[in-house]
Symmetry: C2
Amino acid sequence: MAVPIILILAPLAGLLSIVLSLFLAKMVIKFDDGNEAMQRVAGYIREGAYAFLKRQYTTLAIFVAGFSIVILLVIPNAITPGALNWQQFLAYLLGSAASSVAGYLGMIVGVRANSRTAQAATKGLAAAFNVAFFGGAVMGLAVVGAAIVGVSVIYWIFGDPAVVLGFSFGASSIALFAKAGGGIYTKTADVGADLVGKGEFNLPEDDPRNPASVADNVGDNVGDIAGMGADLFDSYVASLVAAMVLGASFTGSFPAADVDFFVVLPLLVSAVGLFATLIGIVLTKFQTKDNPGKALNNGTYLTTLVFAGINLLLTLIVTTVGELSAAGAQKVWMNFIAQVMGLFAGVMIGITTDYYTDDSKKPTQKVAASSEKGHAMVILAGFSYGMESVAAPTIGIVVAMAIAWALDTVYGVANAAVGMLAIIGTIVANDAYGPITDNSRGLAEQGGLGEEVIRDCDKLDSAGNTAKAITKGFAIGAAALTVLALLYAYAHEAGISSVDLLSGPTMIGAFIGAMMPPLFSAVLVKAVEVNAERMVAEIRRQFKEIPGILNGNEKADYAKCVDIATKGAIRELVLPIILSIAGPLLTGILFGTTSLAAFLAASILTGFIFAIFMSNAGGTWDNAKKYVEDGHFGGKGTEAHRAAITGDTVGDPFKDTAGPSINTLITVMSLTSSMFIGVFAWFGAGAGLIGQFM
Amino acid sequence: MAVPIILILAPLAGLLSIVLSLFLAKMVIKFDDGNEAMQRVAGYIREGAYAFLKRQYTTLAIFVAGFSIVILLVIPNAITPGALNWQQFLAYLLGSAASSVAGYLGMIVGVRANSRTAQAATKGLAAAFNVAFFGGAVMGLAVVGAAIVGVSVIYWIFGDPAVVLGFSFGASSIALFAKAGGGIYTKTADVGADLVGKGEFNLPEDDPRNPASVADNVGDNVGDIAGMGADLFDSYVASLVAAMVLGASFTGSFPAADVDFFVVLPLLVSAVGLFATLIGIVLTKFQTKDNPGKALNNGTYLTTLVFAGINLLLTLIVTTVGELSAAGAQKVWMNFIAQVMGLFAGVMIGITTDYYTDDSKKPTQKVAASSEKGHAMVILAGFSYGMESVAAPTIGIVVAMAIAWALDTVYGVANAAVGMLAIIGTIVANDAYGPITDNSRGLAEQGGLGEEVIRDCDKLDSAGNTAKAITKGFAIGAAALTVLALLYAYAHEAGISSVDLLSGPTMIGAFIGAMMPPLFSAVLVKAVEVNAERMVAEIRRQFKEIPGILNGNEKADYAKCVDIATKGAIRELVLPIILSIAGPLLTGILFGTTSLAAFLAASILTGFIFAIFMSNAGGTWDNAKKYVEDGHFGGKGTEAHRAAITGDTVGDPFKDTAGPSINTLITVMSLTSSMFIGVFAWFGAGAGLIGQFM
């Protein structure tokens, strides 16, 4: 394909974003990082985070190296490797490198912004908010910048969206490790620290005597910063590549110049989203006076409006001064509406999600109230609200999908996904803000900064939770549309024109695909259980063998706990990774490429349900516990509180390990399917070893 | 269609079954019903059960009357009602009547067999086993007999499988009320009785001082006998009608005589299954000496083998002496294999299900072990095993489906479902055996029959649990294949040749359909929570206002608790019933008939997952609690025991309300779709109000 010169906007926007990210990083690091005690603990957290990243990247390097060789020798052209092999090989390496570097940068700043936020809080809420917000923005801008530069450069060089698939697959490999691994890590430490520290020795949260306290703080960073960044990098790139592949599918039915433009349109829209994000970040800064939670959400709404405005302008320009045919220009307008509708739908889904997890709303308060009736009733209440919460986002997706499809069928849906993800920089920034303020609270406590500072840090932290509810719903909605677009892209690449559910092999694929998300969730929840047990044993050992820990005379061996969380997280990753790659491979090989399309579609359906159910049930339990701790239904120390804690502990691996990893699972399965199309052709001419006889 | 004379075998087998059922009923009632105390409590249980049935049937009568008028005036031929209208109207009334009568007969005997089993246990285990087993067999034989007579008579009179759809829809209406309503009832009473009785006043299980103890025993009967009977009546009839509709679809491609035979083949196979069931019931009687649990399971295996044998004979006869063409005979052979494979797959699924809930196996023991680590860990362990347990039955369905499809595509799958359900009489009998022995234990305790008798009743009860694990998995597997066959039947009736997941409206239907089972489950779990709260309030009131209850001087007001459970169960049914009918109607009206097909397919996928997950997680928690109570991990009264009870209480509405009601939900949605095809044609020519513009 020829590459329209206007594409230059995309890498330029990306570079601008990276530069701004580096600038913010430098700015944040210049802030005062507090007294000696804070520096020391922050140092432990930093070391722990680096230790995890180092081990994770080492394992990843082996995995990526192995897989890249498979790509080079086998995947795209199975029998006689051709140009696509080495191109995708390169793209795959670049994709995994770009995602890793962006994640690394975000982490470097994240684990430094925590103590600086605490220290800044001594000068007031607004100052502290800025440090935390900019600290998070570093990650947001780095992720979006690296993704957009990577995708546009690769497309510029090779002129083929199929090569970009390799880049996306690289990003997905990282995301699977970072999100699922980080999720296991963070909940291993959290659950282990709570079970022994709170449960057996009555230590408060973040108590430095708890040997797992540092691991717990490290977990927040590796799960919510590095993991979430890699996850959204992955979704973002996947939505771009799916829309590009589908744009290229109009070859023959539109003039070549039109098609060339359709392919780069998603990248341009993302560049627009990036500009809107930059403006949104600047505007957010000026609203911090009253309510940090509102400031974050208003920032998101503003960014949405700015995006719609600039995108309108871009569409006006390209359709009037560009060289599009009349039909081509009309198509661009249709997809402009799809993009804006996608983004609005994303925000709407986020807001309805918020309803189920906000403690000023009925669901969370009812769950909190049921804590008076015992452990089982808390679980049942959170469980039923979690399942009920699936309805509203489903309707959101249905509306977005109906409009996008009516506008321009599969390409419309892909553009709705691109529109939804266009402001992902803001979403990542708001999400990374969370662990920074969460850590800052602990550091303020350990640095002895006084009640008022701790209260300010608490305010910042709870603002992060409010923002997180919306961004989480948003991410799930965006992922659903993205994987739908990936499904269409897969079908296009595999030459499948219909996936008929009335056909046996297709329905078989659907049954297997539907099973994947619950099975994957089971494996991840079990991984947390197993690894938390190891952590529990180690904490008990330390309290027993080093009796001075409890009275503060001796130092707990934080490093040992960090090491257990790290090693365990990587070890427990093996099974989920095998599942996510073997599932689509076996289905494709046994039942053929069409069956595999149904596999993907069904995994989207159940994945969407389980992701929402687990995230929202977990969020409701978490906030119900906080609501009880705020003094309702007896408050701390009562039986009701203990029941509420049970809900929170059950919800932990739901909302921070399994739930959010499902997005990644489905993206990985979709991309694996697309990458292996050439291989599936070996078996029963694409109908599968068994499928050919059905 | 012409009706082959050989069909006469089916109503004859059905009549034989009904006669035998009545004979067994009379025989069971003749047994000694124990001492005065037992008679009194059994009387309360009987009254409570009748009170519930009366109210349920009254509400049902209104619902059925209303719906039958809609059928008469509107449904089959929407614009100008024709013959099909009054025929389906009649069939609908007959279907609901047949299911109600069978359920009523089963209940009459069930609530009488309990005290008689307890009394027989004074003469030894074998005697007691026979009373309980024959008591359950009354229900099994009544259900199968009424179903097969009803379907064959209606087909004989009208010669049109579409009329039988009305009969099936009538059975489904009853099942929805009986299964979901009974499920709410039983867990309202169980959870309420446990929370106050055990939790607040330390009363043991079945203590007559607990005002909800009678309601609890009534619940076992209305949930596990009446509810389950109606549910399996529903699945059984649905599998028959689906296979008959698909058999008729060969008109044109086979000689008329062949097609006539294909339509009645499912009925003949069911007649064979019924003979096998009768033989199995007789053979079970002779093996009771050593181990009642093994006797029940061996009965199931024997019935399976006998079925395969007689079915082989039938197939040999009809293909050699019958008037089938060569191609027709070959088709019958293909479907013979599909039927036998279906049944074997059902048994295999049952056995793997057993693995997850049997306390001699790893999952249940691990869940029990995690009770030492607290409430949250029990929940997480049961939850992850529940999700994991989805994998094996999925593979079972995939294997059955792959073979059946390879043999004869949609008709093959329908015949696999028919084969799986052919021995349903045995399954219902084994299931109804459960509450009878469960009740008998309580009655033995209240009648003061001594330690040894109670221990024997316990043995019989636990045998029921072992058998139940297999029958439950079996029922879910059979339901999955049945609703698949119903989906094909719907598509055939609606003239849909392809349900393409790559199309927007189709994918929208799939999203909505996938949402239904979790939403329905949420509503049912919430119904139990709400109604259990009413029960808790009432029990507390009685203990407060009638202080003599606790020291045994005054009688608790059992009737009031029974009344609360009854009224609440019916009231909380409104929302799930609206959901199950409005879901498919709205999807069909808004997005068209093809979208609705995808809706059904997706609801099968998620319904299958949620049904297995909820049933197995609940079963594992239940047995893990019993394992702890048997003295492991500290045994009764410990913290571990309390944590295990939490798991059991959470699992109660999972395994006895929501999980098993999902089958019924999906059948009702499938049949609603088939019945309303004529109505959907009004909207956008079948493409839907919104779908026509997509």
